[in-house]
């Protein structure tokens, strides 16, 4: 049976220690290939593992099954047309990607969006972050066997996605931000519905908390599992909840506030051990903090335009398009040629749900991007998977892999 099959037969006799050949019972390592279609590898990833009994000797993650050529595709699209691609980077929190990308383009052009748009972006982005964290936290439960908790998490996410659909017109593939603003304003009554939804989400989050946080079965499986210290986490390039779980106080929303995060009151939960449990708890607590931000943003949101009135970058309002020649001309040029972004290069970074979501944008002044690279927050973390897994047993793989929240879309782009 060929070695490439994940369920391949037999035991591969690899003996690392020649002395052991003299032993009466020579031990051999087993090679097991977990994935790419394995229940635990949500996303599509293959983990090539060498096992000593149940202990993981070596684990080599093999990514790329979901590679869609984001960078290359972007070079053939206008700046605006790249936006739908970013939906599909981290598909659990698409709005955060939309915001991250558009802010990069705005930085390159040197404009900022309107006040109301800033608040809308923050509110919708944090809703997205809640969805992402809910997915991660409850998926840990699912893969540890507690199916109900997962569905409570999904239930909470579901009602949030309903709100996202009301705001953006789509549940997942939002494509909602625009250069200089956002595409659609909050419908009338939306804010009230969000205010109704958030408490229910927090209620379900509390249930997750009660089901897991003190349950010894869960704690035993996550505590001191996949530990990574602060220094090491930094040198591996960890960001986001995974880094904060190791005790490093680095949140871009606090360290380099963008949009209106400096006007929000929230705190950054920190772990101290950097183990799976801390990563879980940090995410859980961030759900609550994000909920606070959403409510504050909706409270403070001023009325006003949602997109800038600069026809070089933003489409003219439809009434001008329908009735004035200037409007039609600007509209036509924007659609047909794309937005002319001045030549230059910029690295823009925002706090994605898994950490620092960076966009490196290069423009040569034409209507299309010259190059776009993404710093996917999950990528360095997946890279550290062999390190995190080292010495753990096969059973530990599941919580560790879940707690780093690998999203195939952003890691494999």
């Amino acid at each position: 049976m060929s070695e490439t099959q994940s369920h391949s037969a037999g035991v591969v006799p690899v003996n690392p220690d020649p002395l052991e050949l003299d032993d009466e019972l020579p031990s051999a390592f087993t090679k097991v290939k977990l994935g790419p279609s394995h229940p635990a590898t949500h996303g599509t990833v293959r983990l090539n593992m060498t096992l000593d009994g149940e202990r993981i000797v070596e684990c080599i993650p093999e990514i790329g099954f979901l590679h869609r050529g984001f960078s290359k595709s972007s070079e053939n699209a206008t700046w605006h047309q790249v936006l739908p691609y970013t939906d599909r980077l981290n598909y659990v929190s698409p709005i955060l990607n939309n915001v991250g990308y558009i802010m990069g383009v705005e930085k390159l052009i040197g404009i900022t969006d309107t006040e109301r748009s800033k608040y809308l972006r923050v509110a919708a982005g944090e809703i997205s972050r809640i969805c992402d964290h809910l997915t991660c936290v409850s998926a840990i439960g699912l893969e540890l066997g507690a199916m109900s908790a997962f569905l409570y998490g999904v239930e909470a996410r579901e009602i949030l996605w309903d709100r996202v659909a009301e705001l953006t017109g789509a549940r997942m593939t939002t494509s909602w931000t625009r250069i200089g603003g956002v595409a659609t304003d909050a419908p009338i009554g939306w804010i009230e519905r969000v205010k109704e939804t958030i408490p229910r989400v927090l209620e379900l989050t509390d249930e997750l908390d009660k089901l897991f946080s003190k349950n010894r079965i869960f704690v035993d499986r996550t505590r001191n599992v996949g530990v990574i210290g602060a220094d090491e986490a930094i040198s591996w390039g960890f960001t986001g909840p995974a880094l904060r779980a190791s005790g490093v106080d680095y949140d871009i929303r606090k360290a380099h506030p963008y949009l209106v995060y400096d006007r929000m009151e929230f705190s950054v939960p920190l772990g101290s051990r950097g183990d799976t449990f801390d990563r879980y708890l940090c995410r859980l607590e961030e759900i609550r903090q994000s909920a606070k931000i959403v409510l504050q943003a909706l409270e403070q949101m001023p009325p006003g335009p949602i997109i800038i009135d600069d026809w070089r970058y933003a489409l003219p309002p439809k009434k001008d398009v329908f009735s004035s020649i200037e409007g039609v001309m600007a509209h036509f040029k924007l659609i047909m040629e794309g937005i002319h972004v001045p030549a230059g290069e910029v690295y823009s970074f925002t706090e994605g749900s898994n950490g620092e979501l960076g966009f490196h944008l290069v423009s040569n002044g034409a209507g299309k991007p010259y190059a776009i690279q993404v710093r996917a927050p999950g990528f360095p973390i997946v890279g550290a998977l062999p390190r995190l897994l080292h010495g753990h047993s096969l059973g530990d793989l599941i919580p560790i892999f879940d707690s780093i929240n690998m999203i195939g879309g952003e890691v494999e782009q």
């Binding site: 739908p84 659909a165 009660k210 010894r216 009151e265 929230f266 705190s267 772990g271 659609i335």
Partner: protein, 214 residues
């Protein structure tokens, strides 16, 4: 305890061990089971008004079930929902589209195919002879709607592209797309000579329904 107003990040504590009570498994186990059991009994004894509140996904009353029993129950999409496309007709049932190719250009998925033809009796000159959208390629981004300078394409049908059994069936042609409520802008009368008798019924807003001929 209010955990919101700490400006400084939260201090990490070193002692995080479970208490003895928690270490004995049973208490937290039973509490966890109690939470799930509460859901069970609420859903067993509760009832769900499956015609209204389920659409809000709010388990009112005592029933918490938020799942929608599709297709018996269907949730209406919100007003701004980007659903199936439609080509907006004029009051006489002809498409508003002037075959300007803006939507096809804006489309990131390149799924709109237009072939222009010419009116000989209209100031507008152009109209689409063929207008096809491959709904399998479409990524439902809504850029085409935004791009159209004539308000001639919309995604307000309140339904999604239906499932099909073979790929060619997902290519929707002009006849399939044309439908829904006609739109008339005040400036239209200067560029478009409408026939005296209008044939399209007003007000019907159902997606994908073929409306009057042309």
């Amino acid at each position: 305890m209010d955990h919101g107003h700490a400006e400084s990040p939260r201090a990490a504590q070193d002692e995080q061990e479970l208490t003895l009570g928690e270490k004995l498994f049973l208490r937290e186990t039973i509490k966890g089971m109690a939470i799930v059991a509460r859901h069970f009994w609420k859903n067993l004894f509760g009832f769900r008004d499956n015609t209204t509140e389920v659409l809000d996904r709010k388990g009112t009353g005592v029933n918490l079930v938020t799942t929608i029993n599709y297709p018996e129950e269907q949730k209406p999409y919100p007003p701004g929902y980007r659903g199936m496309h439609r080509l907006v007709p004029r009051v006489d049932g002809r498409p508003r589209c002037v075959a300007c190719y803006m939507c096809a250009t804006a489309c990131p998925a390149q799924c709109i195919y237009i072939e222009a033809g010419e009116y000989d009796d209209q100031a507008i000159e152009k109209y689409p002879v063929r207008f096809e959208i491959d709904e399998l390629r479409c990524i439902v981004c809504g850029f085409c709607v935004e791009a159209c300078p004539k308000d001639a394409i919309r995604m307000d049908t309140g339904t999604h592209a239906p499932a099909v059994l073979s790929r060619p069936l997902a290519v929707f042609d002009k006849e399939a797309l044309l439908g829904g409520a006609p739109v008339e802008l005040s400036s239209d009368s200067m560029t478009y000579r409408a026939p005296l008798k209008t044939v399209a019924p007003m007000g019907s807003n159902e997606g994908g329904k073929k409306m009057g001929g042309h």
